[in-house]
Symmetry: C2
Subunit: 397 residues, 2 copies
Amino acid sequence: MVVNESMYQLGSVRSAIRELFEYGKKRAAIVGKENVYDFSIGNPSIPAPQIVNDTIKELVTDYDSVALHGYTSAQGDVETRAAIAEFLNNTHGTHFNADNLYMTMGAAASLSICFRALTSDAYDEFITIAPYFPEYKVFVNAAGARLVEVPADTEHFQIDFDALEERINAHTRGVIINSPNNPSGTVYSEETIKKLSDLLEKKSKEIGRPIFIIADEPYREIVYDGIKVPFVTKYYDNTLVCYSYSKSLSLPGERIGYVLVPDEVYDKAELYAAVCGAGRALGYVCAPSLFQKMIVKCQGATGDINAYKENRDLLYEGLTRIGYHCFKPDGAFYMFVKALEDDSNAFCEKAKEEDVLIVAADGFGCPGWVRISYCVDREMIKHSMPAFEKIYKKYNK
Amino acid sequence: MVVNESMYQLGSVRSAIRELFEYGKKRAAIVGKENVYDFSIGNPSIPAPQIVNDTIKELVTDYDSVALHGYTSAQGDVETRAAIAEFLNNTHGTHFNADNLYMTMGAAASLSICFRALTSDAYDEFITIAPYFPEYKVFVNAAGARLVEVPADTEHFQIDFDALEERINAHTRGVIINSPNNPSGTVYSEETIKKLSDLLEKKSKEIGRPIFIIADEPYREIVYDGIKVPFVTKYYDNTLVCYSYSKSLSLPGERIGYVLVPDEVYDKAELYAAVCGAGRALGYVCAPSLFQKMIVKCQGATGDINAYKENRDLLYEGLTRIGYHCFKPDGAFYMFVKALEDDSNAFCEKAKEEDVLIVAADGFGCPGWVRISYCVDREMIKHSMPAFEKIYKKYNK
């Protein structure tokens, strides 16, 4: 093979989710869009808050074009970083400033940069807690490290601490957490974050170097029923926060986010420099300038999160009534449902026969479960219920 | 060190250009902006063509927000890719379609992706022709390969083919060319491209695998006096074109460009897949969606290139009259000038004493020369002439 074989593999094997999504589009062309219940993909279904488009319009109208579209410094415009720091401080009672932030092209970039900055040799390991976003493996491997999986706590979808402790060793560089979680919709409780912090402090001492928490938080604002998402840097010093505006501002295609490097991390100056260096090595010159400037005005704005909550309630009540075992999500826009047979792929195939497109959770490290994305049209949820009932009856005659 | 040491180095050692640029800003605060002649940086000084901002305004006003800001497919919107293919075909008489294009976040991303897609082992080499853009080394090394330098042809700034041939071996994966060139402003002639193609065809046969041309072309449209830039895919099959709209549309901060993979390359399907895979591995999810959609309407638009030409003429005539030996640039917005002593860093220091900020070309692989960016305010060029004369007189009393 003339090209790099693993790059070829990565580029030619489409993700199962993407595959299903494409199938849904083809199927809709045959049986009609209204007869396909596509719960496959996590593309926000609510529009960006009005202030996003208004601000963009204002910027291209009034702002000096050369400055608006010009290079920003590699770590991002200082105004943008200062505005984010101020917003975080007001919201969480923290004490960040512009120098704690590095602007990126979204969460995938933030994560890739952190893994690259922290990986020193091929034995380095990052731990992920199932169920987890499968691209973590791609990003960790691309950085030259190994991804280690902790099996899911399928009762509460918090963390199985015994299983986690077993997997920590001298090669552990960090633990990735993702709360609110894709795909389970769980939010880690304060108790979980405290236990995690205690464990990692103990283990860091044991192995003689810091184990980092990499907090992947694109869903931070998407929570229901007034639930609080503990802000991890307040519990554990060696925390890097990877954030994206994709979900909160409903602009996943625009690629804007940040890495937060608190002063409290071990040798902050060194780590921040390594983050800058990793961004440079990955070919990220600067985060898109127009969106950086837009962000200044849109701190704290979100799309209509209540729309997701109503979708969740409708789906949860509907499926529970039929007889499905669902984990009630506290946040994000995914629901985790137990497959009606051990082989969740086979279950998803049976669902597909009724034009219900849902994703087997094997790829998320949690066999026996399925993920249902409810960032969809509400009417589709309503109309899908008879199909879900039909599927249920296949197993419960 | 807790972090990756080379990432730390990359992030903490600021580029000499950036350093000089920051010095210029500080110095301006002391002696006044009008008394500092900053020719250090390559940030386009002319605004984006009006159609860019008009189109963005239209899109955020009229386009469905969810679709506008949503994920595009990883390789980019098919409409965008089709529009680019059509424009290239109309301009160059080629036969591309959407499937020959992969949208990226600008030239740095395009290059990083190509190097990553083509690098299979640690002995792989990419060749660059001096003078060259220093970040090539960063991107090639990040892909796990080695950058090999061919010394400059300082007479015509074409290619020293004997020196190039000497450096090609069984490990050579590609030759990077950058025409119009940063930093020399040269445009490779058709004769040069033909000779290069012949040599690489011969050498590919010898080593038994294709040697690729990676054509880095962000300055393709920025040429003067009606000079033609040969379109490399028409001369050599195994060509990958890395393009960015940063310079042509004056939006370097927005990060939008593409990789062009012609049908004629060796095993196109495999190579295109590897490009997609490398994009995924580097954490590029998709190129910014709003800018992808803007690009559809802005094919062929450019900023006022004549402004750069007038700057070039003013600078070239002014410096030549004083007595400097200048290479007259055919394109881009840099002029290459021979330093007045062998040590070009020392020469730049002498220039700095007169508040003239120019960049020693050692970092571009071409010691003894300096780079002068003329994407600057025209008045500054005019006012800088007495200072350039003073510097000249230091060496010619």
